[in-house]
């Protein structure tokens, strides 16, 4: 065991910090809503600046515009970026999930056509997986694609598609063979959102925002060369993308949580509660659990850095994060007292965070499905379905 950062890691951290301090833009003035064109432009500029200077796609191979470095460097950059509370990366899903999957499984033409624009934020990619009747049971998806000469004709619906309203491309799982057993008849299509027959309807969440959308496909023509991987081999493509999603936890998330915890402590001070023994116990619990989360993240990173397959830490981190964030924001609400219920201004966006956190144990794998996965894949218990 040696947790001292190596000189190379320290040097990389310094380089990242120096660049970020000079380049992170001032916070956007105005409504940070995806329906504000100015905000979308602001986010695109930030993505381009990072990509052009070699700070995006850090783990991507060099030939596709990446840096060819490891998860440790990615995590260092994420941490330093989060410390400065930099703007959100609008092309996050593309950069961390879809890009690496295209780089791994795409044809030379597909890599040439998509990867550079994806990284630079010139084209925003989103993920078309979930459907109204295919949530946790993703393999039962029904959005249909029928071969017609050089094209597939797509009909059906996707839902929970983040940022579809600004997307240029969708990474779409469709059913191409309804006669095959459920995981064997799925294909991954790369679909231009400007195609005729694609329509987007934002979903308003209980927190009031509309990041998620429903996406409808009505006789949408998709060229056969836009199949990623093999026809009827799309399940493997989807799983590969989801594995990248789990890998992406840690790093910036721990720093984001640390920022929020600091705000909760500040709130307790303002409310004169830092001598209250119950509040002290809760804030100590919040602090220690965050440290445990950081350590488990570092452990997972250390295993991946040594070339080991990601261990059970990946699913555990997702469970830990969602439990923790939900509990912490509830605790923050208690500390805020009657002020906690107020919509936005009084104590930052506490009430928004409180409502939004309910999604944490549902999105990217419900806690129940993650536990099923741990039971079957890590502990070797019989699959329950």
């Amino acid at each position: 065991m040696d947790l001292t950062p190596s000189p190379q890691e320290e040097a990389y951290r310094n380089e990242a910090r120096t660049w970020l301090e000079a380049n992170v833009p001032k916070p956007y003035e105005g409504d940070k809503s995806i329906s504000d064109a100015g905000y979308v432009e602001y986010l695109r500029d930030w993505q381009r600046a990072q990509a052009e200077n070699g700070w995006l796609g850090i783990t991507w191979p060099k030939e596709y515009g990446g840096q060819g470095l490891g998860p440790t460097e990615q995590s260092i950059y994420n941490e330093e970026e989060a410390k400065l509370e930099s703007p959100y990366l609008m092309g996050q899903v593309g950069v961390s999930l879809i890009g690496p999957t295209i780089a791994m499984m795409g044809t030379p033409e597909q890599k040439e056509a998509y990867l550079s624009k994806l990284l630079l934020g010139e084209e925003i990619w989103v993920q078309g997986f979930s459907e109204p009747n295919a949530g946790s049971d993703l393999g039962s998806l029904a959005c249909r694609a029928v071969r017609d000469g050089d094209h597939f004709i797509v009909n059906g619906q996707k839902t929970w598609t983040s940022y579809a309203q600004v997307a240029d491309w969708i990474f779409l799982l469709v059913r191409t063979n309804p006669d095959a057993t459920k995981y064997k008849g799925i294909t991954c299509l790369l679909v231009d959102m400007k195609s005729e027959g694609v329509s987007v309807r934002p979903l308003r969440m209980m927190s009031g925002d509309s990041v998620f959308n429903e996406v409808f496909f009505s006789d949408v023509k998709v060229p056969v060369e836009n199949v990623l991987g093999e026809i009827d081999g799309g399940w493997k493509v989807g799983i590969t993308a989801l594995m990248h999603e789990r890998m992406n936890l840690g790093g910036s998330i721990t720093v984001e949580l640390a920022h929020f915890l600091a705000k909760v402590v500040e709130l307790a001070r303002q409310r004169g509660l830092t001598d209250d023994p119950i509040v002290r116990q809760k804030l100590a619990q919040a602090s220690l659990e965050l440290e445990v989360f950081q350590m488990t993240s570092a452990r997972a990173m250390s295993a991946v850095g040594k070339g080991e397959a990601p261990g059970p830490e990946g699913s555990i981190l997702k469970l830990f994060w969602s439990n923790y964030n939900q509990w912490l924001v509830q605790t923050a609400q208690e500390i805020a007292g009657p002020y906690g219920q107020l919509a936005p201004e009084k104590f930052g966006s506490l009430s928004y965070r409180y409502l939004r956190a309910r999604g944490n144990s549902i999105e990217a794998g419900t806690s129940e499905v993650l536990k099923n996965t741990i039971a079957a894949r890590v502990l070797g218990l019989p699959k329950s379905y």
Binding site: T274, R299, S302, P382, S384
Partner: protein, 370 residues
């Protein structure tokens, strides 16, 4: 950055497991817990021969001078067998002597501890039952170069097998540590029967008992006690990780074989989720324990905090893991016959030892808020 035990540390851990597999199976554990002291001279000799008793004792006093990570690798293995006897109290007391700055006393006593001839323990708690040394009130009086003590110490580990007892008290306004022989006049030792009978606790009554040795006093005593307790605290965290690992393995194994309604119970999600929760607590606790061990081993500026984080987390986690393990086992898990209760009880005694989660959260709160 490397966040796993090194190859030699893994080998060390495996050799402890192999040894205990041969010399400390559950039959042995159950036999020892029925004895007065839970100490077995033959087992102790074996641990000594392997060098594990001398693991953290400085080389100049004939120890191996290994660090906290090595110690945690060893105690994790011991925890997975609920190894009975005085290993922890002895390690705590040996470190207190090594850190005391009293070279003459260390030179006199530690080589004997390293080769297993002398066993040592620490008497810290009193009626207040606080792990905060500042709450220590037992009065020690100086009397022409010797030290006289009257009063009580409670919850003293393994006092009936230790040849020397390090008694923490107050000399004037100073915290002080004196050394008293177990057989000293004016010292009565009575058992305090507790739920974990694999490690025995005692009440010590002093009635003008006399010590010739002041081990440390004032700042020196405070710092030595702090360092020794911090090391022993991470050692307990290692044990708790071992306890949780055993409960996980036993529960998963049971879930794979026990059938109800025509299927193994491990195929039902309710049971699967208990198992997954156990893994969640175990691996999170492991991260905290290993990190704290590393921080203590390099004397990192954050070592105190890391030790409190680890002890708070591991204490709560191990209790919860025990609860889940028993629940998943159903009725058999609640019996004397099944070995689960050995681990459940060890989890409880370790939760309390050196301060439970509430105690360490108090310390963390002071670090974060004051």
């Amino acid at each position: 950055m490397d966040f796993e035990l090194s190859k030699p540390q893994k080998m060390l851990q495996d050799s402890v497991k192999e040894f205990l597999n041969r010399h400390c199976d559950f039959e042995k554990v159950r036999e020892l817990m029925e004895t007065e002291t839970a100490h077995d001279a033959e087992l102790w000799e074996g641990l000594t021969d392997q060098g594990w008793v001398a693991l953290t004792i400085p080389e100049e006093h004939e120890g191996l001078e290994l660090g906290a990570v090595d110690l945690v690798a060893v105690t994790e293995a011991m925890g997975s067998f609920t190894m009975p006897g005085p290993f922890l109290s002895n390690t705590w007391a040996a470190e207190l002597i090594a850190a005391s700055g009293n070279e003459a006393f260390a030179k006199d006593v530690l080589p004997g501890v390293a080769d297993g001839e002398t066993k040592v323990t620490v008497a810290l708690l009193e009626e207040s039952a606080s792990w905060e040394p500042q709450r220590c009130a037992l009065a020690i009086t100086e009397d022409g170069g010797s030290y006289r003590v009257s009063g009580e110490k409670l919850f003293v580990g393994d006092a009936e097998v230790a040849e020397l007892i390090l008694v923490v008290g107050r000399l004037g306004d100073d915290l002080a540590v004196i050394s008293i022989a177990r057989g000293a006049d004016g010292l009565t030792i009575e058992p305090m029967s507790a739920i974990d009978s694999t490690r025995k606790l005692y009440k010590l009554s002093f009635d003008g008992a006399v010590s010739e040795t002041l081990v440390a006093r004032g700042k020196q005593a405070e710092e030595a006690l702090h360092r020794a307790t911090r090391l022993a605290t991470v050692a307990v965290c290692g044990e708790l990780v071992g306890v949780m690992q055993w409960v996980l393995d036993a529960t998963v194994e049971y879930a794979k074989t026990r059938e109800q309604f025509g299927r193994v119970i491990g195929s039902y999600q309710a049971v699967q989720h208990h198992c997954a929760d156990i893994l969640y607590y175990l691996e999170s606790a492991r991260s905290a324990a290993y990190y704290a061990a590393w921080a203590v081993s390099v004397d990192d500026p954050g070592a105190d905090r890391a030790a409190s984080v680890a002890k708070a987390y591991c204490s709560d986690a191990a209790r919860e893991v025990g609860n889940l393990g028993i629940q998943a086992h159903g009725g058999i898990g609640f019996t004397w016959e099944h070995d689960l209760h050995l681990f459940y009880k060890r989890a409880k005694s370790n939760e309390i030892l050196f301060g439970d989660a509430t105690f360490h959260r108090d310390r963390i709160a002071a670090m974060v808020l004051d």
